[in-house]
């Protein structure tokens, strides 16, 4: 049984403050890289034939295309199963972006809606330049590789790293403590308290039952920790079969 749908809730992975802060940091870093790398690369630069490449429209197009490529790369990393449909939509997004860009920057639309499409010729002229593509490649690398590295560490080694550090801590603690006291089971108390369920069915005991004297929470050590639930670890639950003859013999 694949219960991976339950683990985000149990581990509080989506809406915690830690996730939010991490998300903000990653977004800030990506935004800064996406703007400042093209900015620095285009300062004072020209085409190979001397003509303009550091104009406003080329700069905007270069930044926009880098953003598209970075977002697509992020989606590629997040897609677990690459069926034909996924391939079609992911590669198709990039193709659609390029098609729309070239359409918006084409002669035809400029002639029809002159003031709305002033970027005419920019795609043809700046996407032909190798230094624009090299800038976009660098931006993409700087944005995507940290995610890949972090995910690689997380997926493959997180459990083992946690076990290792826990083991180290346990070892350090053990070496400094005296020998533990011998274990004695707690004395059994015969319980005369009956459950409030029985009382609640008779008249007159409503106040007693709803007072907080019954069913107080005892701090017993839990059998399964929060991180060790079989659901969390995606392992099948082991069920013990209880036969009916054994139950009857106990009561």
């Amino acid at each position: 049984v694949d219960c991976s749908l339950y683990s985000p809730g149990q581990l509080n992975t989506f809406f915690s403050k830690k996730t939010f802060v991490r998300c903000v940091m990653v977004s800030t870093y990506t935004s800064l890289v996406l703007f400042f790398i093209p900015w620095a690369a285009m300062q004072d630069s020209v085409r190979g034939d001397g003509k303009d490449v550091a104009d406003y429209q080329s700069f905007a197009l270069s930044t926009q295309t880098s953003l598209m490529i970075v977002v697509s790369a992020q989606m590629f990393l997040d897609t677990f199963y690459w069926t034909a449909i996924n391939q079609f939509f992911l590669w198709g997004s990039i193709a659609a972006y390029l098609a729309i860009t070239f359409t918006f920057f084409s002669n035809g639309l400029f002639f029809v809606f002159t003031s709305s499409f002033p970027f005419i010729g920019t795609a043809r002229n700046s996407l032909k330049q190798p230094n624009v593509w090299l800038t976009m490649f660098l931006t993409c690398l700087l944005c995507v590789l940290p995610t890949v590295a972090f995910r690689f560490l997380h997926i493959n080694f997180l459990e083992k790293i946690r076990k290792f550090t826990r083991f180290q801590k346990y070892k350090a603690r053990e070496e400094g403590q005296p020998a533990p006291a011998p274990y004695r089971p707690p004395p059994r108390r015969v319980s005369t308290r009956r459950s409030s369920y029985a009382f609640s069915h008779s008249q007159g005991y409503g106040d007693l039952v709803t007072s907080r004297k019954f069913l107080r929470l005892k701090r017993r050590p839990s059998l399964f920790g929060r991180n060790q639930s079989p659901l969390v670890e995606n392992q099948p639950q082991h069920y013990r079969t209880i036969t009916e003859e054994a139950e009857e013999s106990q009561t």
Partner: protein, 353 residues
Amino acid sequence: MGKTKDKSGPLARRPDNSAFKQQRLPAWSPMLTANTVLPFFYLLAVICMLLGVWLLLLVQSTQEIKLDYTDLGNCNECFDLRRNVSNAVQTCSCRVEFSIDKSLKGDVFFYYGLKNFHQNLRRYMDSRDDGQTLGRIKKLKNPSSYCAPFDKDNDGVPIAPCGAIANSMFNDSFTLNYHLSSSRIVPVPLLRTGLTWYTDKNVKFRNPRADNLTLAEVFEGTRPPLYWQKPVYSLDPHDPNNNGFINEDLIVWMREAAFPNFKKLYGILNRADPIFEKGLPKGNYTIDISYNFPVQHFQGRKGVVLTTLTWFGGQNHFLPIAYLVTSSLILLTAVVLTVAWWKFGKDGKNMKE
């Protein structure tokens, strides 16, 4: 005989037994294992380093000479003259000298540069009428309201070309001279066409249809922008392909720069002359400048740049150095990941349990 499906019965609405509908499509599942990720990182580090080194060598092979002439030498007098707007009608010229130690081999490009001039200001960039510069007669006589207050003058005469961008066109002109010997000074021929993108010159900017009229007659009923000294139809009277809206200096200026410090192409060395066949020889040079553009009002500077180019562009060291830095960062990450894999991977052989 067509197939008829049995549309009744309890299993009538069962989906087809196709791979698509039964969610059995063949899929590829990428796994971030050590076998794929580590070599990938090392390969990328090598690629980035090679790219960085190659681009650095390319950029180092270009030569660039920059000269800020805002108040250099006797341009200082023109600088003081231009401080006052009422002197705008007076011409002023000055001369700057410089020398080239190593000859500039190959094609040499002459740029004028401005500092602190924000052509990327939003309101400034909107202040143009692309329909008018496309040559539409209706727009010629009736410019768009985006050009205001540079669309009509006080008498209501429309301005062509309208807008703040055209109005602030750079109007200094340069003559480069080479001192061949102590007595002989030779002007350096510069090509003043071929400076613009093909789409700008042939699609975005067109003169209004002339039929049998001269260009001056076509522009009748309009007036040049307030800061211009010549009307648009006499920007280059000798070359009809460079006159009017398709004048290359105008087109180059109208392509707004992205940053406040920019340079725009003014001319390309004409290597037909035997003295300049291989480029610009070393020696002493002077530039005679007709100083018109005032830069005090925005605390700017102006200058000229002479540079050789490669297919990669001019002298911009950022990209090669960034590639080298990135390659070392990727290598560092790869090493860290390898250490992590060595310690914690390999089925935890190195962990004592």
